[in-house]
């Protein structure tokens, strides 16, 4: 950036940046231009929601750092030992080396407890950040062309993170996680045809055996992190190559990207963000105890504590298992246990599979094959937003049902009632959520149209000479105007009503698929048009801020064009 090249009172000479090391590298690799345009000057749009993915990235880095530390002390073995360590309450108890070494990390390694707790908190934050980041990308339509591949990579990352987390918290071989592992094994057994074999091969024989901890360990510290690292690298590289999306704003177009350059602004800000995340995790690890395995005791298959909860990201699977009725079939002499299979596969299948499928479905339904670099505001895509909220409600109900015993206890209602409510809400909740969200989106679009055409309510009440009170409307400013006008509506594809004079529908809307497409297309294209009622823009800001509407019942909408009075949302009282 332009700044005084040499400052006389500085100990940091920047007069010839390429003189030393950087020049040495440029002599050998070239790349001054690439470094300048792709790294130093790369533009980072500024929006709070763009920080969510960074939280996930930095949690992952913190997981790698703290995980490496933990691996110096953890022993992934179920060899039985008698404990004689610092935690005297467990003195003389038989336990696995895995559990013993976790106790050692917690009580005999300086900083061990802190790092262990940072690691666990970071894992929870990682999945939470991934979730919210995915929601942001979904609701703003940032997955659209050309970013579908990165969206799919993101979904893969999320699925891997769940397995990584499950295996991670199962490693200490404590009572709580052992019970979770037993459930995992029970679910595996339920898979038709191959389930029993899968379980026996993974566990090296019947549960629990002695192979699962070392196997989970190598999967947890090498295999999945390796894949995660590769996919994250690809994810970020693709984002770099395609450049960021940006929110609708003045000057933001599909042909540009506006923000602050990487060096020094983004570099400094994102470093600060990393420090904040690390600091926040350290604070949590200091003051908020997590996974106190010494209280749970070593694993034994005959015991369990009530109100056992997995980590939050497993809550949906736990809740799905709890909400499910007891359905089991005998299929030609074989057991097909839907009460396990459906909870295992369906909810996450619907959410993750649906998310993966969605960009292609939307493209098919809207016929939209254009590039999209400017994001949608969620209200301007009511179907997408409605489906997204429906998925959130579906997830949320099952997640809450994962703690149905805690809820029943807390709310003083019978346990079975909670489960029945969840059973109903699992089906009804998403449908209601879709309908309500869509209505809210359209309502917000009406509000936007009002702001655009008639200005916003300034809160200034003025009394006219004849005694009538009016509220003064102000035209929206340029920035706001650009945001409001950025709305894009999918085109109407040929469908019902577009038959030719002989009553023959267009080829694209024939057949079951064609009709389904026409229906979906009409849903996507539903919108509150800004100019359809003949206002044009002439009414807007050029009205010099004198656009107003009557307040109170005495007023009549006489100042508004008559076209408006038939409109359900006219007026602004």
């Amino acid at each position: 950036m332009s700044r005084p090249a040499v400052n006389s009172d500085t100990d940091f000479d920047v007069s010839k940046p390429l003189k030393g090391t950087a020049g040495w590298f440029d002599d050998r690799f070239g790349g001054a231009r690439g470094v300048r345009t792709y790294l130093l000057r790369k533009v980072y749009p500024d929006h709070w929601s763009f920080l969510l993915g960074e939280i996930a990235l930095y949690s992952f880095i913190i997981l790698l750092l703290t995980g490496t530390f933990l691996s110096f002390f953890f022993i992934p073995s179920t060899t039985e030992v008698i404990y004689h360590g610092s935690y005297v309450k467990l003195d003389g108890i038989k336990m696995s080396e895995a559990y013993q070494s976790t106790l050692r990390i917690s009580f005999d390694v300086r900083g061990g407890l802190l790092i262990r707790q940072i690691h666990h908190w970071a894992a929870d934050l990682f999945v939470a950040a991934l979730t919210i980041h995915m929601l942001r990308v979904f609701f703003t339509g940032a997955y659209r062309k050309p970013r579908e591949v990165n969206w799919l990579i993101g979904i893969t990352l999320f699925a891997l993170a769940l397995i990584e987390g499950l295996f991670g918290y199962s490693l200490p071989d404590d009572q709580l996680s052992g019970a979770g592992l037993r459930i995992f094994e029970g679910v595996l057994q339920g898979i038709p045809i191959v389930g029993t074999y899968l379980a026996f091969f993974l566990f090296g024989g019947p549960f629990p055996g002695h192979d699962i901890v070392p196997r989970m360990y190598i999967i947890h510290v090498l295999l999945i992190p390796g894949i995660l690292l590769a996919l994250i690298t690809a994810h970020i590289f693709i984002m770099f190559w395609q450049k960021h999306t940006q929110m609708p704003a003045k000057g933001n177009t599909e042909r540009n990207v506006t923000g602050q350059p990487s060096y020094p602004y983004f570099v400094a800000k994102t470093s600060a963000w990393f420090m904040f995340i690390f600091g926040a995790l350290a604070l949590l690890a200091t003051f908020a105890q997590i996974n106190p395995i010494w209280l749970y005791g070593p694993y034994t298959p005959v015991a369990i504590s009530s109100a056992s909860q997995p980590d939050f990201y497993m809550g949906i699977l736990e809740g799905s298992l709890r909400v499910m009725p007891a359905w089991e079939w005998n299929f030609l002499g074989h057991t097909v246990t839907f009460s396990v299979l459906i909870p295992f596969a369906l909810p996450l299948g619907i959410i993750l599979g649906g998310a993966a499928f969605w960009p292609f479905f939307e493209r098919w339904a809207t016929g939209d094959k254009a590039y999209h670099h400017v994001n949608d505001r969620p209200r301007n895509a009511p179907v997408r937003t409605g489906v997204g909220i429906a998925a959130v409600v579906f997830y949320g109900v099952l997640w809450a049902e994962g703690a149905n015993d805690v809820l029943a206890d807390f709310l003083h209602i019978p346990l079975y009632t909670v489960t029945w409510i969840a059973r109903v809400l699992t089906i009804v909740g998403p449908i209601l959520a879709y309908i309500i969200t869509k209505r809210i989106c359209l309502g917000l679009q009406r509000k936007d149209r009002e702001d655009l055409l008639h200005g916003y309510e300034s809160g200034i009440i003025r009394q006219l000479p004849d005694g009538e009170f009016i509220e003064v409307h102000q035209p929206v400013n340029e920035e706001r105007r650009a945001v409001l006008e950025a709305k894009k509506v999918p085109a109407l594809l040929p469908g019902p009503g577009s038959e030719d004079p002989n009553g023959v529908p267009p080829p694209s809307s024939r057949g079951v698929l064609g009709k389904a497409r026409a229906v979906a297309n009409r849903a996507f294209a539903e919108t509150i048009p800004v100019e359809a009622d003949g206002h044009g823009n002439g009414h807007g800001p050029e009205g010099a801020g004198e656009e107003h509407a009557a307040v109170g019942s005495a007023g009549t909408p006489a100042q508004l064009p008559s076209g408006d009075s038939s409109d359900e949302d006219s007026g602004s009282s």
């Binding site: 900083g111 019970a179 042909r255 990207v257 007891a326 009460s339």
Partner: protein, 375 residues
């Protein structure tokens, strides 16, 4: 600090006069502090390549750097940033001191060490982050850059040229022309693909019938879990109680206990109404599997294998704490709620010559979660 931003924003050059703003929208460019760099002419930006100028349009909001307001603000911001970095240094020293000075090896000491290390580490990171953030926001000029996007799609000529070259290369490779080479190549690599799967075979033994059996056998004594002592019916005479039982000889064998753990419940006379059960292909009455109104059920839930650890005396309900499958104890542990699809298997009981409770046989059906081969 925010009030300063507000005033600066109101005076800001180039900000359109917008007396009121729509609620919920960001204030018009509030950041003018730290402000603009030196004049463009003769500076290094002027040396930037033309291609850069086409791609990047840079605009800087702000008062001139020699504006008194900017100078005062910059000095104050600098002091705060410096204070943050000094605090980072102090906290970092504190972290090292806490590591060296505070030992662990007891619960109290560990908690003290955790508090000192964690607190100093938190302050270290948070102060460093805060310093960096304030530095950007209050000392660096407010630069905004608009970068042009390029078409992601290659132009048609490039695509055609690539396609043409690929076709030519394929032709040169003779891959299409010589089907025998092509097909034997594919055939040859098939086993190679299967090899990794084959290699996984020794991960574990085949299940065989192992899920159908437990270590219970005729005459094997029931031991009370924890004390590992055998039990006579007279010792277990209080109706309404439930205890966990492990098989004699396998008290600590986790693999065995995963299937063989049992709960023992004592009823009042007349409470039990156990129906018939499948034993192999025949139906048998199982009331004679009980001894003195004591009945033994598998402790392993038929849903996904959690131990069914809760027993409600008054209602005779056995509850699995994992997923709330509920079993009616008086009628053979039949399912009355929840996702479990089958009753808990019942272990046939009798007493041996010494009067201790023993198993009459193994379970007559597989215990635990469902599996495909269960039938």
């Amino acid at each position: 600090m925010s009030d300063m931003e507000e005033t600066a924003g109101a005076e800001g050059a180039g900000v359109p006069a917008a007396p009121h703003r729509v609620i919920g929208t960001p204030p018009p460019s509030p950041r003018l502090l730290g402000s603009a760099p030196v004049a463009q002419e003769g500076s290094e930006t002027a040396l930037a390549l033309v291609s850069d100028q086409e791609e990047f349009q840079e605009h800087i909001d702000g008062l001139p750097p020699d504006d008194p307001q900017v100078i005062v603000h910059g000095k104050r911001a600098e002091r705060v940033v410096v204070a943050c970095f000094l605090l980072t240094f102090i906290a970092g020293c504190g972290f090292v001191a806490a590591y060296v000075g505070l030992g662990v090896h007891t619960v109290d000491k560990t908690l003290r060490s955790n508090l000192a290390l964690g607190l100093s580490m938190s302050v270290m990171f948070l102060a460093l982050g805060l310093g960096a953030l304030l530095w950007v926001r209050h000392l660096m000029p407010n630069v905004e850059v608009t970068q042009q996007r390029h078409d992601l799609r290659s132009d048609e000529k490039e695509r055609q040229a690539t396609e043409a070259y690929f076709k030519e290369g394929t032709a040169n490779s003779q891959f299409v022309k010589r089907p025998l080479v092509r097909r034997t190549l594919m055939l040859g690599t098939l086993p190679l693909l299967a090899a990794p799967v084959v290699l996984l075979r020794d991960l574990g033994p085949q299940p065989g019938t192992s899920l159908r059996h437990t270590v219970w056998s005729p005459g094997r004594r029931l031991l009370v879990q924890g004390t590992n002592q055998p039990l006579t019916p007279a010792q277990f005479s209080a109706p309404g109680s439930m205890i966990t039982i492990v098989p004699d000889g396998y008290e600590d064998d986790q693999n065995a206990l995963t299937k063989a753990a049992v709960i023992l419940i004592k009823f009042r006379p007349g409470e039990l109404h156990i129906p018939t059960r499948h034993a192999g292909s025949t139906l048998v009455g199982t009331m004679n599997w009980t001894v003195d109104n004591i009945v033994a059920y598998s402790k392993i839930c038929t849903h996904v294998g959690c131990p069914v650890a809760l027993y409600e005396q008054t209602t005779h309900h056995i509850l699995c704490p994992c997923h709330q499958s509920t079993f009616e104890a008086t009628t053979g542990a039949t399912v009355i709620f929840g996702p479990a699809a089958r009753p808990l298997p019942q272990l046939p009981l009798t007493v041996d010559s010494s009067g201790y409770l023993v198993a009459k046989s193994d379970f007559t059906e597989p215990v635990g979660p469902s599996f495909w081969e269960r039938g």
